[in-house]
Amino acid sequence: MLLALIGAYYGNADLARSISPTSGAPNPATQPVNYVISVAYSYSQVILTILALALSYDALTRERSERTLVQLLMRPIRRSTILLGKFVAYLAAAGGLFVGITLVLYIGLSLITQKFPSSSDVGYLFLSMGIILLYVMSFIAIGLLISSLTRTSLDSLLGAVFVWILLLIFTYAGVALGLGAINLSATSEIPYTAFPGYAKILLWINPGSHNVAIQSLAGDFSKLTSGLNYAANVILLVVSIVVPLLPAYYLFKRSDVV
């Protein structure tokens, strides 16, 4: 992340744009600090995805294998509370780390460069952090679903790696099939809106496709991301939290403890 910041600060705008999945990144001239943070986001999104999954993939299987789940369920608390407690704890861990580092970098960069962001840029920062937290939540929810589906930590780990790779495959398959269908090679501006429905659906399965954090950081809500407008992406990001979380709860509630 530090290397990314240095690179970005010294003008490697191409690097930032090549990594950014959105078309609406902050303008380095008018939003220098937000721009640098957007480059950091490009890296931190991948790290946060892995961190969220690493924290949550064996949340329940570990409790089961170490027999602490029995101790928990002997107490007058509901299984939904246990699941929600884990969700909040992992969000606090991964999200807290992200928010803390981002704020330190934001303040630090502003002070070092003496380029102070406008109040609207600060607002955009908080909005973008909210979006990233939604993104993190979706991967925590996926991790909890994997954990409720599996019986051992090893199964959970394999499941998490499998899902992570599968989501990437869906994304790349969606792009490849979409570009193939409209007879275009990959360009810096992918025409998602022209993609056929099946290619769009493959693309949208990955919560990362709906990550409009960099767009939020720029304060540019008119651009389309993955062929969808800003509101649709936010809604689908929320849906990508709820969709894995509900079956995770159902499976955990129905499963035998031992």
């Binding site: 002997m74 107490r75 509901r78």
Partner: protein, 309 residues
């Protein structure tokens, strides 16, 4: 009032194995009930159903008159449970573990006082700050009992409490459990160890291949299964014909070997005390007593016969 009611309960697992087959029994409040059976007989399945960890395929389970299937949450805080291998967060101290479980049990006021008291009761003073991963199995069992007692339960369910313990550890744990029963905690003790039952329980039911026999008093059960012959050895300084005749006159005494005063007798309740009384009056003392076969041997033989039938 019954603390536990199990009515025609069957548990059949997905692969078709029947763990519990039409079990029915009750446990009165305040009793020390033992469920005795070999490993794999279905004891833990019954416990798991009592605690709502698994659902019975058929039948009804009630705890304190509440159906476990639908009203378990109403009685959950009145139950304590010691698993065979209690689970704790190994990287936390024993005290922190108990604090977590106390908070989840709704123990807010006097939490620290109660935890300190439980450490004393469990014999873990001085080990409060130790990481649980450094605990021996015996200490984990003690901590397990402390965790089970956090909510001051009226019913304590114990799964193989003495398994894996050395003789001293076993003795300590059994004494601790017995002490809890004295203080009106209903005990439900599932074990394959007949000695645990003999020491703690006043009522027991045997379980074999998922089938639970009708409960009986522990005294009656022991009288049924215990060794048929008892060998006593005694030291009597002033051995004379009168003492020998007195011992021989005790009903059940089969033979006396005079040299070391080895007495062989048929078992009946109280016969040991009768012989011991004569020896003590003659100024002697009982040196050893050995059942043949032992309680364990007789129990194993009985379970074997049931299996054949």
């Amino acid at each position: 009032m019954n603390a536990v009611e199990v009515l025609e309960v069957t548990k059949r697992y997905k692969k078709g194995a029947v763990a519990v087959d039409g079990a029915s029994f009750t446990v009165e409040q305040g009793a020390a009930f033992g469920l005795l059976g070999p490993i794999g007989a279905g004891k833990t399945s019954i416990i798991n159903m009592l605690l709502s960890f698994i659902k019975p395929t058929a039948g009804t389970i009630k705890i304190f008159d509440r159906e476990v299937a639908t009203q378990f949450h109403e009685v959950q805080n009145r139950i304590g449970y010691l698993p065979e291998r209690p689970g704790f967060y190994g990287n936390f101290s024993a005290e922190k573990n108990l604090r977590i479980f106390a908070s989840l049990s709704g123990v807010r006021e006097e939490r620290d006082e109660r935890i300190a008291k439980l450490f004393t009761i469990a014999g873990l003073e001085g080990k409060e700050k130790d990481l649980v991963r450094a605990y021996s199995l015996g200490d984990r069992k003690r901590l397990g009992i402390a965790a089970a007692m956090l909510n001051e339960p009226e019913l304590l369910i114990l799964d193989e409490p003495s398994t894996g313990l050395d003789p001293q550890g076993r003795r300590d744990i059994m004494a601790l459990i017995h002490e809890l029963n004295v203080h009106d905690v209903t005990l439900f003790l599932a074990t394959h160890n007949v000695r645990d039952i003999a020491e703690i329980c006043d009522v027991l039911a045997t379980i074999q291949s998922g089938r639970v026999a009708a409960p009986t008093t522990t005294k009656g059960f022991i009288a049924t299964v215990r060794g048929t012959t008892v060998q006593l050895e005694a030291d009597v300084a002033n051995m004379n014909e009168r003492v020998l005749q007195a011992i021989k006159s005790v009903k059940g005494v089969k033979s006396i070997e005079c040299e070391r005063l080895k007495i062989s007798l048929d078992y009946r309740p109280g016969i040991n005390e009768d012989v011991n009384y004569i020896i003590t009056r003659a100024g002697g003392r009982l040196r050893s007593m050995r059942e043949s076969p032992s309680l364990e041997e007789a129990y194993v033989r009985m379970m074997g016969e049931e299996r054949v039938e």
